[in-house]
């Protein structure tokens, strides 16, 4: 799962692996890749690269606990090597994986349940010692330790590895390396076995794209001797071209070159700069101001957090910035959930969808630059599983409301479900949303366009940091959300958001009579090993959700960035929705 940055106020972006083939969407000009700033024009090795961000610090530096798209890419390209890595390239090429610490993309058994990788020679830690197979196994084992990793990182290790279920915090029989008894440790060592330089994974489910799984930093190594448990997040040990010299949350982090990194052992990373300085806690408006001014060290700066919507016109209306700006999908789909238990009337839900002024909502966010109207809960970048669904009859393509159709639907609800009709047109439906600047305006648009339909909206703003915790217990009638797949598979979207027991299913759709058949199909799609068949199932399931209007797809969102004029190779790295930090070089 990944949270939307607008909600979490953390710039998260998705890991998307799109099997090539155009999605037919989005700007695909040179602009998307950032013009001259994306090329290697005139790079001179050396210099200091600055990263300006509003964040108070790294979301986490501990490899087993990083789960923010942009940061996964940034740390993976600098200090945390993994068995496989995404291809360091702009555009769709960047969505594939290639061997990193491993010699190849792994070999697997016929049933896709046993995977093994062989380590390269010459892969070393920042103190010059070799990265061993044991370090990788130890690193992965940390995921199971709830008391240290707190479930902050991806949990694929616990769901995939063939370890019996048990009563430790994540439902596994193995409680992580700190609390494990010898017997429990043996269970893990069986699932992740080391034989010299070869590491073998035994899985309890067939996983066709396990080579992608091990590119997650959570499947990366940690040297046991250096492990400081929860303090490891303050100073992780590097095995990449950069190491962390100092890290002070709220102020800055300095990454310097790691002399013990051996370039021959690393086919992926081609570092250019000597030093990377992250400046934390800057005001967003100040960041935009500094980037536009482009003076002094800011010529060597990039931004983590994107351009503010109110400055998009300035940035994209000025052709002199053409070489410095990027624009592309960030992998998120924003959407509006219904509480299908309280709004158990499809006509009312249809009326709301038809009458909603989606165009005004998008304009309030900053216009078409911020995203395209979504036709699926699966992002277009997930090309294999994406198909534009057939939306509700009468919905206007341009996002403007179709009042006639909306009123007609509401009229039908009067007879088909009088209770919900009375509530919607009388007392009103409670709309839960995070109390952010953007939503102060969005809710006005919601109230206004629903008034035109005849539906009353009760505004219920919730403190942004407590939003999901709140709706997990106390759900309104309508709730907003956003999601990005962290996998090349809609299995990280549809079951999570709409399936039974989905970790983030707030829609109460179990009460819908169509749910049983839907969930049965979700379960069979999850177990389908034929990827093409599985993709068909996901597309059909997405259509079912849309037909039942359990939720309204909003926008497939985009993000924009601006780099300093000396920055080169600042391309938007597709899997992470941000730059390939370690590859950036400086000109002049």
């Amino acid at each position: 799962m990944k949270r939307n940055r607008i909600i979490a106020a953390i710039a998260t972006a998705a890991i998307l692996i799109s099997a090539c083939g155009g999605s037919g969407n989005g700007t695909t000009s040179g602009e998307e890749s950032g013009g001259r700033s994306a090329t290697a024009d005139g790079i001179k090795d050396g210099g200091t690269l600055y990263v300006l961000t509003f964040q108070e610090g790294a979301s986490n530096l501990d490899p087993q606990r990083v789960y923010t798209g942009a940061e996964l890419g940034a740390y993976g390209s600098t200090y945390a090597r993994t068995l496989t890595s995404y291809v360091p390239a702009a555009g769709k090429d960047g969505a594939g994986v290639e061997p990193d610490m491993a010699t190849d993309l792994g070999t697997h058994s016929d049933d896709l349940k046993t995977w093994s990788f062989t380590l390269r020679d010459g892969v070393t830690w920042e103190d010059g010692t070799d990265v061993t197979c044991g370090d990788i196994a130890y690193g992965i084992s940390r995921t199971f330790a709830a008391e240290v990793t707190a479930g902050e990182g991806p949990m694929y290790a616990t769901t995939y590895l063939d370890i019996p279920e048990g009563d430790s915090d994540f439902g596994s029989a193995y409680p992580g390396p700190w609390l494990a008894t010898a017997d429990q440790q043996a269970l893990f060592d069986k699932a992740v076995a080391c034989d010299g330089k070869t590491i073998t994974f035994s899985l309890k489910v067939p996983v066709a794209d396990f080579a992608y799984t091990v590119s997650l930093l959570a499947f990366g190594p940690v040297p046991k001797a250096q492990d400081t448990a929860d303090q490891y997040a303050l100073k992780p040990f590097s095995n990449g071209p950069f190491k962390i010299e100092s890290y002070e949350p709220g102020k800055e982090m300095v990454m310097v070159r790691n002399e013990n990194w051996n370039p021959e052992s690393d086919p992926v990373r081609k570092p250019h700069v000597d030093k990377i300085i992250w400046q934390y806690g800057l005001d967003e408006a100040v960041i935009d101001e500094r980037m536009l001014a482009d003076s002094g060290d800011d010529k060597n700066a990039i931004v983590y957090g994107g351009i503010q919507a109110e400055n998009l016109q300035t940035v994209f209306g000025d052709d002199s910035l053409k070489d410095r700006r990027t624009d592309g999908f960030d992998g998120f789909v924003s959407y509006t959930m219904f509480n299908n238990e309280t709004v158990n009337c499809i006509e009312v839900r249809q009326a709301i969808w038809l009458g909603l002024d989606r165009e005004a909502l998008r304009t309030a966010a900053g216009g078409p630059f911020t995203g395209e109207f979504a036709k699926s809960f699966v992002a277009p970048l997930l090309a294999t599983d994406y198909a534009p669904a057939k939306l509700v009859d009468g919905l206007n393509e341009d996002g403007t409301p179709n009042l006639e159709a909306a009123k007609a639907a509401l009229e039908k609800a009067k007879t088909s479900c009088p209770d919900v009709y009375a509530k919607a047109t009388g007392d009103g439906l409670r709309f839960d949303h995070p109390d952010s600047d953007a939503w102060k305006k969005n809710i006005a648009i919601w109230i206004d366009s629903m008034k035109a339909v005849g539906v009353t909206i009760i505004d219920n703003p919730i403190e942004p940091s407590k939003y999901y915790a709140t709706i997990n217990g106390d759900r309104g009638d309508i709730m907003r959300s956003g999601w990005a797949a962290d996998w090349a598979n809609a299995s990280t979207v549809i079951p999570e958001l709409f399936g039974k027991g989905g970790g983030f299913n707030y829609t109460n759709n179990e009460s819908d009579p169509n749910f049983a058949a839907f969930d049965e199909k979700v379960q069979s799609a999850k177990a389908e090993t034929d990827r093409a068949k599985q993709a068909t199932l996901w597309k059909e399931l997405n259509q079912t959700i849309i037909d039942n209007v359990w939720a309204i797809p909003g926008s497939a969102t985009k993000s924009q960035n601006l780099v300093g004029s000396n920055v080169r190779l600042g391309y938007q790295w597709l899997p992470f929705g941000w730059y390939n930090l370690g590859a950036i070089g400086l000109a002049g």
């Binding site: 408006a285 935009d288 101001e289 503010q308 919507a309 109110e310 400055n311 998009l312 016109q313 300035t314 002024d357 165009e359 005004a360 304009t363 309030a364 966010a365 900053g366 216009g367 078409p368 630059f369 109390d435 600047d437 939503w439 102060k440 305006k441 809710i443 006005a444 648009i445 109230i447 206004d448 009760i458 505004d459 219920n460 703003p461 403190e463």
Partner: protein
């Protein structure tokens, strides 16, 4: 101060109450009168906001997609000022800024007026009790006041905003702005009564020893008579000056709280919400920033000058050159 001032000007002041005397002097100060009309204007606008908005045809809640471009920014210069939108439109939604400003006046003055009224009321009562009863009651009230003053009130207001609003909602106060308003007013009263109470207490302590009070008492006057007939008439001028001086503070506080995000919630139009929103657009829509800020400046300045004028008029010892 003298209960009845007889030293003043050549005019025939015999038989005039301190209030009438003060008003006569106030009318002579030009700045004070101008300030009064500025304040009157805002109060008028606040009271008749719905009618004014309809007459000017500026709906504060209607979205106008046509006056903003694809980026959500106002199309025309100066935040898209035009005959339809005299002060331009809000970025993102195209709502009319003049209409929102007019409705915002209501919120600002409501909080200012009710907040002042409550804290003054509580302050006068407690100050009176402390001054008249003296003894342990006086000490008790004074110590509570000291404690209230010692609190870092703004910090507390911000920190308690969410939990207290939720608590109020769970006690049956309607959700949303009603609960938020109740909270803000309650906390303004809790921290705001002390200055008024101290002022009244001091005055009562001195007045109660005066001959006219002693005389009334010797005739067997009860507490009610003392309070309403003897003490209050001599306290009104101070109370009015105090009210005029603390009102702008409360108006500005509403803006501060909304700006910090603990005030009222959108889509209600409030100056603080507008200010907070406009700051983001200082580069792309500078005019927007100056409108709520300018209105706030004008209103607060108006109240301050009005208070100054009143003080000059009612406190003869302030020997200031009248403008």
């Amino acid at each position: 101060m003298e209960p009845v001032d007889t030293r003043d000007d050549s005019m025939d002041s015999a038989g005039l109450s301190p209030w009438q005397l003060g008003m006569r002097r106030f009318r002579k100060g030009r700045l004070g009168v101008i300030a009064f009309w500025v304040v009157f204007f805002f109060v008028f606008v606040a009271i008749f906001a719905p009618i004014i908005v309809r007459l000017l045809n500026v709906d504060p809640y209607a979205l106008d997609r046509n006056s903003i471009n694809d980026f959500g920014l106002p199309k025309g210069p100066l935040g898209s000022m035009s005959w339809n939108h005299p002060l331009g439109v809000e970025p993102g939604t195209g709502r009319d800024i003049l209409g929102r400003l007019i409705y915002g006046t209501r919120i600002s003055l409501l909080i200012g007026a009710v907040g002042t009224l409550l804290s003054t009321g509580v302050g006068v009562i407690l100050g009176m009790v402390a001054g008249l009863r003296r003894g342990w009651i006086d000490s008790f009230i004074s110590r509570i006041g000291d404690v209230a003053l010692a609190f870092p009130s703004l910090l507390l207001i911000i920190a308690l905003a969410n939990p207290m609003t939720q608590r109020l909602e769970s006690w049956g106060v309607p959700r949303g702005n009603t609960a938020k308003l109740t909270y803000i007013l309650a906390i303004l009263t809790i921290f705001g009564w002390v200055y008024m109470a101290r002022l009244v207490r001091g005055q009562v302590l001195s007045l109660r020893e005066r001959d006219f009070v002693e005389a009334a008492r010797s005739f067997g006057a009860g507490t009610c008579h003392l309070v309403f007939k003897q003490l209050l008439p001599n306290l009104w001028p101070q109370i009015i000056i105090f009210v005029a001086m603390s009102l702008p503070g409360y108006v500005a506080l509403e803006a501060t709280l909304s700006f910090l995000g603990v005030g009222l919630q959108a889509p209600t139009a409030s100056w603080g919400i507008m200010l907070g929103d406009s700051v983001r657009y200082y580069r792309t829509d500078t005019a927007y920033l100056f409108i709520p800020g300018g209105a706030l400046l004008l209103l607060v300045l108006g109240f301050n000058l009005l208070a100054d004028g009143l003080r000059d008029a009612f406190d003869p010892r302030s020997d200031r050159q009248q403008l």
